[in-house]
Symmetry: C2
Amino acid sequence: MSSIDHTHDPALTSWVESANAPDTDFPVQNLPFGRFRVEDDPEWRIGVAIGDQVLDLRGAGLINHSDMNRLIRLKPETRRELRAQISAGLATGSAQAGRWERHLHAQSAVEPGLPCEIRDYTDFYIGIHHATAVGKLFRPDNPLLPNYEWVPIGYHGRASTLQVSGRDFHRPKGQVKAADAAAPVLGPSQRLDLELELGFVIGRPNAMGHAIPLAEAEDHLFGVTLFNDWSARDLQAWEYQPLGPFLSKNFASTLSAWMVTLDALAPFRTALRRPAGHPDPLPYLDTEANRRSGAMDIDLDVLLQTRAMRDAGVPPEVISRSNAAEAAFWTPAQLVAHHTVNGCALSAGDLFGSGTLSGPLREQAGSLLEMTEGGKRAITLANGETRSFLQDGDRIQLRGRCARDGFRSIGFGDCSATVLPAL
Amino acid sequence: MSSIDHTHDPALTSWVESANAPDTDFPVQNLPFGRFRVEDDPEWRIGVAIGDQVLDLRGAGLINHSDMNRLIRLKPETRRELRAQISAGLATGSAQAGRWERHLHAQSAVEPGLPCEIRDYTDFYIGIHHATAVGKLFRPDNPLLPNYEWVPIGYHGRASTLQVSGRDFHRPKGQVKAADAAAPVLGPSQRLDLELELGFVIGRPNAMGHAIPLAEAEDHLFGVTLFNDWSARDLQAWEYQPLGPFLSKNFASTLSAWMVTLDALAPFRTALRRPAGHPDPLPYLDTEANRRSGAMDIDLDVLLQTRAMRDAGVPPEVISRSNAAEAAFWTPAQLVAHHTVNGCALSAGDLFGSGTLSGPLREQAGSLLEMTEGGKRAITLANGETRSFLQDGDRIQLRGRCARDGFRSIGFGDCSATVLPAL
């Protein structure tokens, strides 16, 4: 497990001035990892975000390769040593300042990539308020299935269409069938939705056949991102039985560019805020440490900017606010332990989506499906526009932020993309 | 589309004598691609199987790299040129015989690898008799869901636990819940099963957002393998609602080592033998060519060898015989067109599992679940042993074979693995 150390000292400041702005996502207490390219060099580099800059780790002499999927395999103690080195070198008064300065690039001037090469991608379903609300729409009489309180429900997704924040995508087409129609038709989705999720990136792999015990699970987790699992609800309703969602989900998903490490998140660990009335987990999913601090206290926002708002210079509008520790029924470590209990082999660069992290209230919903009760109650924006589902030109942004008295707040950077018309 | 040419001439023989044996899977008319390693060299090589030998393509000067995921991206016409070159060089009387002979390795002396690096893996459900039989067990009143006759049902699987034939695996553990129990328990699966499938390997990718029309779909398919999608039925029954199978499937899957190319399969293309009473597919899944010859006439066998049989020197026993064209409700090209109709990007090295290819009769079932009617009617082997589901030490082998009057028969090689005890 990560613990709080001098890298979290709220008094620390950086010689990179923008890292000292109160509202930056990337103060020197954060130090998230990502990949970027600069003009005239096609190679991806490994960087750490600091204020509005990114530090080229290889350029600064901190690592001797550019392979993020190798870096994230580091043992936890080695990873923490690297973090301590970066923290010390970026701190005000550091002797490295002069030498490292020329390895800083403005984030606005570089091209961000996916934070690592994503191997297998699994999407979980840990948002119990989401599962209950969606269950009501699909199965009014049976919203939360009996396995939900025992099994961290998950399913496999598609890695090839994961994109980094800022890459737009086309509205998907697919088969949809009206309830009263005899046959389905092929057409653009009319019920395109977002899903507010976190992404958990696996660092250290396990050998096939060998389960990872819950107590060791966080040693295999490298970092956390924002994640938008775009969903076509009309395609989903028609295709998902009996084997689960497929084309309704695999046309695009958006990942933020920066992996906030479990080390950076150490001050913001907390207990899950599970609703009452559920049994204790089976022993392989239960430790005292996991109960006490297995969850992550991350505030999450969903923002929408329509084309009309963009044209009028109106900034994105918050349409939902949630919190990961309140929304989640399972912790990231429980997901690792469950995913491997059958011997499944995880790889460096696997991505776990959390599932939609909705709070219990409508204004805390992580999807339009929930906010609009299946499209029946459109939301009204400040400019008078309404939305049941996403329209072409809509841009969705996710934000994440950790705050705790006595600690410097950290954030997750941008996770946004715009819906382009169907091709 | 591939067509029949001189490489399929049944009169062709090879200077590699074992390729002329009547029962070989790999006569000179086949020429399937795979990867292998030889002792003292850790690098994977690209080979073509011929009789009981494998030809090292780079050694023979036919290609200048060892990257199968690059080779399978070849344009169809370039791929066919390469096939014609290999065919001519291996044919009796070829001028290459002397030079190529030292680039032959006995298959028994090399280590086979997965035929390419598998990127995303999708499992389909095209076996209509399987879907009906399994549907009866899970939903007696509603075996075949209304979407089945319209949608090529599929879901994403896990690539990291795909193994090449010959690699054994441990029985998975997982949560199971007895119907009359208040809570699930964690334990080794008691209902471990096989699934007789074909694997379709994607060669040429498509750009994200751009659907592949059915008429071009086969240009994106490189080859076909045997595929065993091991399944833990007790884990599956408890976990699969509402998002589909997960830990019940992702502990291990076994792929044969050789990709039989669509070019080699050209003489064995046929119409689907769909049961009557289903509607025509939607236009994006329907062409005249696909109706006429979209399916593959591949005879399939499942063989079981228990530990007791192995100890007594008894060979594997056939427990089921099926045929892909009779079992399948959708063609491989329809799977490509459907998978991309929403803009999903396919990659070189993606694997599509067909789903279990059962015939309509019990002795044609591609899984024990069907053969034993959910475990209620055990099968009896020739030595008197019975099986409801697989026991530790059981070895399952899949075989595939194409035969047609006027053509040389070809086969798929071995696809086998043994169940090891749970760890």
